[in-house]
């Protein structure tokens, strides 16, 4: 596994952006952490020597005072730095998740929806749950590694002293150098072994995580959509689905458990193997120090110091090796983060919109299929919508109506053909400006658990008057006035615990109010009345018809009565535009539209 310079640069840059002092402070904190045991070793050696040599009590006590003061100083400085690092770390972590959010809400829709985008998002979420926040791990492991490095460095200084003292005591230079050289070589070998072992371990581990992707999605689904979902609660009870769910969910849980246990096994043997190597080397070195002291080549106090240093040396090495292995293990998770942030956006147009309010839309031989599917969802669809046209799109389930709208909204791009607005390919316009032209009520619309006015006004400022007008138009004025904070009330409970719970019909009305508030020149409604009762439905049709008289409107509905309001009807079947014309024309034509119409009208004409 090679060192990923790119990733290192990026993470360093992220550190630097939050604060240029984060890394130095982290290094300094860990330096102090590494140095603390050496302060203790140094002065306790002096104490031991003092006592052994029979120096006066006061002199020995002075050494003890130094020891205590030294430790205090090192610790206090460490706390100050630690405080700074912790604060900055928290900022760094949230800054990174903020960037993910920012990217997710602004990126190209088709990219977000693509396999790559969804996979990265799912993997990041799973990673955060099972592995932890990659940046938190990064700081933790970098700290471990640094403190290990500093510890090793300090220990080497002591070990050098050891050699010097031995030489000074008249031990043979060649023999001493051989001993120490041999020791260092052994230690290096130990490190190599540990690192190799660590890499193999990490590869295994990441592969295990990879295999779990499938289970994770399923697990999340059951948690969210079955156990957390009160609507599923009805199915479970009436249909007696407990056994089915428990069996399926049990299987997933068992796989997860096996995975976790497997990792535990790997981890256990990995760590045990490492510790055998290190303890062995450390013990040999200790023995060597003791023998030297025994032979009076070094002082008794220094045997404390050097044996301590040797122990620290190996503790440091273990930390470095573990830190490196952990950093490597963490790298794929970090890489995902940057990969997501750097997902390449398709070229977006920059052209300004025409100044006039007149909007003319045309589909020209548009072909489209969803990524990953073979069959065309739309085949050679061409039509024009003039300013002020009221268009209905009808057709059986799966005929391509909603897809047409999604293309018009630039959520997807046609594979062949163009969609033009006032003669210019819609892809050429600046997308945010373009979206301002469109008010849409989605079939699966979504209201957020924010304040009611935020749901309606989006990022813009609150226009009080327009807001109440839109609510009044949808017959929601009274209901909103009765809420605990009027338009400032939160909806649902996820964001604010005292939020208002609204019914499906009310939600649908708010979704339409939102579109009315936006007041864009083109108004699109995809099945806006599915959850409305007949009276509300009729009111909706009449309201929108009068409110939006001048505007261009596109309407999708399975209730064909809505077509009567429209100037022109487009009939789709299997992705092909089959018929086009007014309600009367199409009935006379006696084709698909007439079939649809009659299927529904027969029940009402019997009167």
């Amino acid at each position: 596994m090679t060192f990923d310079r790119e990733l290192f640069k990026k993470t360093f840059h992220s550190f630097h952006e939050v604060s240029p002092w984060l890394f130095p402070a982290l290094a300094a904190e860990n330096f102090l952490l590494a140095v603390r045991p050496f302060v203790v070793l140094h002065f306790s050696a002096a104490v031991v020597d003092g006592l052994y040599r029979g120096e006066g009590e006061a002199r020995v006590l002075l050494q003890a005072l130094w020891l205590s003061c030294g430790v205090l100083a090192v610790e206090a400085a460490g706390h100050v730095l630690g405080c700074y690092v912790e604060k900055t770390k928290q900022r760094l972590l949230k800054e990174q998740t903020r960037r993910q959010l920012e990217k997710a809400v602004r990126m190209d829709y088709q990219l977000l929806e693509s396999g790559k985008g969804q996979e990265l998002l799912a993997n990041m979420k799973r990673g955060r749950f099972q592995h932890g926040d990659p940046f938190e791990k990064l700081i933790q492991h970098t700290g471990d590694m640094l403190s290990g490095l500093f510890g090793v460095a300090a220990a080497l200084v002591y070990i050098g002293q050891f050699a010097a003292e031995k030489l000074a005591a008249g031990s043979g230079a060649a023999g001493t150098l051989l001993m120490f050289g041999g020791f260092l070589a052994l230690a290096a070998g130990g490190v190599l072994l540990t690192v190799k072992n660590g890499e193999r371990h990490n590869r295994k581990r990441f592969a295990r995580f990879g295999k779990l992707t499938v289970q994770n999605r399923l697990y999340g689904f059951y948690r969210q959509n079955v156990f957390q979902n009160d609507k599923y609660g009805k199915e479970v009870r009436i249909f007696d689905e407990r056994e089915l769910i428990e069996e399926e969910f049990g299987k997933i849980q068992k796989d997860n458990r096996d995975f976790i246990k497997g990792i535990g096994k790997d981890e256990g043997s990995f760590k045990a193997a490492n510790s055998v190597v290190n303890t062995f080397l450390s013990g040999i070195a200790c023995l060597y120090t003791g023998v030297n002291a025994y032979r009076e080549l070094i002082s008794v106090g220094n045997v404390v110091k050097y044996s301590g240093a040797v122990a620290q040396f190996f503790t440091g090495l273990t930390r470095v090796a573990a830190g490196m292995a952990d950093l490597r293990g963490n790298a794929p998770f970090l890489r995902q983060h940057y990969e997501f942030l750097e997902l390449e956006e398709p070229e977006r147009g920059k052209e300004a919109l025409p100044a006039s309010d007149v909007v003319e839309i045309s589909f020209e031989h548009v072909y489209f299929r969803y990524p990953g599917t073979e069959a065309w969802t739309l085949k050679d669809v061409s039509f024009r919508i003039a300013q002020g046209d009221h268009i209905a799109m009808v057709g059986k389930n799966g005929s391509g109506k909603t897809t047409c709208i999604r293309l018009l909204l630039r959520l997807y791009r046609p594979e062949k053909g163009v969609i033009r607005l006032n003669g210019v390919d819609i892809q050429a316009y600046d997308i945010e400006e373009y979206w301002r032209l469109l008010s849409v009520v989605f079939q699966d619309f979504k209201l957020f658990s924010f304040r009611l006015w935020q749901n309606i006004a989006g990022s813009g400022a609150k226009r009080e008057e327009a807001l109440w007008k839109a609510l009044a138009d949808m017959g929601m004025e009274q209901r909103v006035r009765e809420m605990y904070a009027g338009t400032d009330s939160c909806l649902y409970r996820e964001y604010d615990e005292q939020g208002i719970l609204i019914s499906g019909g009310e939600a649908q009305k708010l979704a339409i109010a939102k579109a009315l508030y936006k007041d864009a020149p083109v108004f699109i409604m995809d099945e806006p009345s599915a959850a409305l009762d007949p009276v509300s439905e009729a009111q909706l049709y009449e309201k929108t018809n009068t409110l939006l008289g001048e505007k261009t409107m596109i309407f999708i509905s399975h209730r064909l009565s809505s077509c009567c309001f429209c100037d022109r009807i487009l009939v789709l079947r299997d992705g092909v535009l089959l018929e086009e014309g007014s309600h009367e024309q199409l009935l006379r034509l006696g084709g698909e539209y007439r079939k649809l119409w009659e299927a529904q009208a027969v029940y009402y004409q019997a009167v």
């Binding site: 020995v60 006590l61 020891l67 003061c69 430790v71 610790e75 206090a76 706390h79 630690g82 405080c83 928290q90 602004r106 829709y109 999605r217 399923l218 009160d230 609660g233 199915e235 009436i238 007696d240 056994e243 399926e248 246990k261 535990g264 256990g268 760590k271 055998v276 303890t279 023995l287 003791g290 045997v303 404390v304 122990a311 059986k396 799966g398 989605f442 924010f450 989006g458 990022s459 499906g504 019909g505 009310e506 936006k518 599915a530 959850a531 409305l532 009762d533 007949p534 509300s536 209730r559 064909l560 009565s561 309600h583 009935l587 079939k595 649809l596 009208a601 009402y604 004409q605 019997a606």
Partner: protein, 643 residues
């Protein structure tokens, strides 16, 4: 607290000795004991290996740091006592071999236990999930119940992830404390006293820190919840469309930033207090270090201890304060974790609105009927003879916490085999009526009778067995179409009947066209190999599911909302066939559906405002007539010229 604990019977499962040990270990009083016993039972049944590994950690973790100190002592002492070189080397060598063994064993045990520990969350969530699937529906749907369950789930994660690790750490610290304390105390009680006093001061500091953290906790939890919500919604595709078309990206990042700011203020405060508290502790440890050395140096100078012992004692004194500090931290943390238990058990012990499981006998006899029906496959409607009658007697209902009644005084008799349509405006009480009819809620006032017998007399299972329902919302599992339709595991799925149901629901052809047919999995959101059915196709699958079940009361709540006119018409045309031999309820906003029902009920403000056949109600020229006109106007006017 004497609530029901699912799957917990201590006398049956627990062994005597283990039990005694738990009793000693806990000592929290009876209430606490019951909970802790339950947790330990769960661990014992599911994660036995974890317990063994945890116990094994105790001696290893206590011994290891001591061995290092003891090694240093031996190094000094051997020279001091002028042992023979052979003895010296043998002494050090044996310690170091011991160290090697203990260390590698400890590493192995700790790492394995750490991962084993992660399975505990699954074990603890199992009883919770079981409760979710079996408790009264009001507990699942009601806001109060949902809050309790959410808290319990948080508790499972917070508690489950750290309780065992913390307990082990607590015990290790306790053993270390005893071992070191006794050793030091035997040598010089004064040192023990110094260490205890200075570390005790640290306890106050720790309390201070904990209090600060507690104060900030609410803010932190609130911020994290909000930020999580924003992160999740920001990634959802359904939300993505609204965000883009309604320029909500700025709103999202604005809200996120403001939560970030609030969170930062909290975490900053905690960091500041922590630095202060830690510095205070450092000061105390300064005093401890100096005083300990002072004593020991004095003892060594006066020749009462050897220098080697001084090394051992200073090391152990430092170690003792580490154990103590750890113990204080762990005790606080365990106490905090203990609070989660209340949240956890609040869900497990949540009261049931009613007791079930009375009508055992009827349940069984009905199962026999059902089994026969299933055995007949395509001709599954043999239960014809037993279509029941249903009676509502002055039924009223008010949701928990609601100001007004949703249903008021509904009185209604549905004849055996009758086809009833229920219509009404949004909020008139249709859905609530369905829930009562389904036995998901019990009426607040009045009674519902099935064949003249109060349905509260039935066990839930026995009553549910008689119903076939298509609910408004489409809910499908990431399993095969066949299993979705049968609602049962593969082994209990009647394939013939599945095919028949799919055919009846008008989706047979579509399913056959799929590469794996009925074995095709659903829900692409959950699995790669699944197909995504369109909204209409999903709705038909839900219908097939109800047909497969085939109870003798059929309830369809808005079953055609997502269907195109042709598919809708198909359902209407088949409705007569579907309702052979059952008593049926059809709830719809599409009034066309009422023409093939025997009787129509119009609900308004929780009351039956009108009832009668389609013709009768039209003749009456009341609310129904109004509604029908509103809806039919365009069909008749628009179509008139051409017919």
């Amino acid at each position: 607290m004497t609530g029901r604990l699912p799957g917990f019977a201590p006398s049956e499962r627990g062994s005597g000795i283990k039990y005694q040990l738990f009793q000693v270990w806990t000592g929290f009083g009876n209430k606490m004991n019951r909970k802790i016993n339950f947790i330990l039972q769960t661990i014992w049944n599911d994660n036995r290996k974890l317990l063994v590994l945890s116990a094994a950690q105790l001696p290893l973790q206590v011994l290891l740091p001591w061995l290092q100190i003891f090694l240093t002592r031996t190094l000094v002492m051997g020279i001091e006592r002028q042992d023979s070189l052979y003895r010296y080397v043998a002494g050090i060598g044996s310690i170091f071999l011991l160290q090697m063994g203990v260390n590698s064993l400890k590493e192995w045990v700790t790492a394995t236990a750490e991962w084993e520990n992660k399975t505990l969350v699954y074990s603890l969530s199992a009883p919770m999930d079981e409760k979710t699937l079996t408790t009264a529906y009001a507990n699942v749907e009601g806001a109060a119940g949902q809050r309790i369950r959410q808290r319990a789930l948080n508790a499972v994660y917070a508690f489950g992830q750290s309780v065992v690790l913390r307990s082990v750490s607590f015990l290790v610290n306790l053993c270390g404390l005893l071992f070191y304390g006794l050793t030091i105390g035997r040598c010089d009680p004064a040192i023990l006293a110094v260490v205890t006093v200075t570390t005790g001061g640290g306890y106050l500091a720790a309390v201070l820190l904990r209090r600060c953290e507690q104060r900030q906790k609410e803010t932190l939890v609130d911020c994290d919840r909000k930020m999580n919500y924003l992160e999740n919604e920001g990634q959802s595709l359904q939300a993505a469309r609204e965000i883009r078309l309604y320029d909500m990206a700025g709103l999202f990042s604005g809200l996120y930033r403001s939560s970030m700011e609030r969170r930062k203020r909290s975490t900053d405060r905690i960091a500041h207090v922590r630095a202060l508290v830690c510095s205070g502790e450092s000061l105390l440890s300064f005093a401890r270090n100096f005083v300990t050395y002072y004593y020991l140096i004095h003892l060594a100078v006066t020749g009462r201890i050897l220098v080697g012992d001084l090394v051992l004692m200073t090391g152990m004194a430092a170690g003792l304060s580490v154990w103590m500090r750890g113990l204080i931290g762990d005790a606080g943390e365990l106490k905090r974790l203990g609070l989660y238990l209340d949240d956890y058990f609040a869900w497990l012990d949540l009261g049931e609105a009613w007791q079930t499981a009375k009508k055992r006998a009827e349940e069984i006899s009905h199962e026999e009927i059902n089994a026969e029906a299933i055995g007949d496959g395509a001709a599954g409607k043999t239960a014809a003879a037993c279509a029941p009658s249903l009676t509502f007697e002055h039924v009223g209902f008010c949701y928990e916490g609601a100001q007004e009644d949703t249903l008021r005084d509904i009185t209604l008799t549905v004849r055996a085999g009758e086809k009833l349509a229920i219509v009404g405006r949004n909020g008139a009480g249709k859905t609530t009526l369905v829930k009562l009819l389904c036995g998901l809620y019990r009426p607040g006032r009045g009674r519902i009778l099935l064949d003249g017998e109060d349905i509260t007399g039935y066990s839930d299972e026995a009553y549910f067995a008689r119903l076939a329902v298509v609910f408004q919302d489409i809910q499908l599992l990431p399993v095969s179409i066949a299993e979705n339709v049968s609602s049962h595991i593969r082994g209990k799925t009647d394939r013939q009947r599945v095919a028949w149901s799919l055919e009846q629901a008008g989706i047979g052809e579509k399913v056959r066209s799929l590469p794996a047919g009925e074995d095709t999995c659903l829900q692409r959101a959950a699995r790669e190999d699944a197909v995504e059915l369109s909204g209409g196709e999903q709705q038909k699958t839900m219908l097939a599911k109800a047909l497969y079940k085939g109870g003798d009361v059929l309830i369809l709540d808005e079953p055609t909302a997502a269907l195109d006119p042709i598919a809708e018409n198909d359902i209407y045309r088949k409705y007569n066939e579907m309702t052979q031999g059952v008593t049926s309820f059809f709830i719809s906003h599409r009034l066309a559906s009422t023409s093939f029902c025997d009787r129509i009920i119009l609900l308004e403000d929780g009351r039956i405002a009108e009832q009668g056949t389609h013709e009768e109600l039209l003749a009456k020229q009341g609310r129904y007539w109004e509604m029908f006109n509103v809806q039919s106007r365009y069909y008749t006017e628009g179509g008139r010229d051409d017919f």
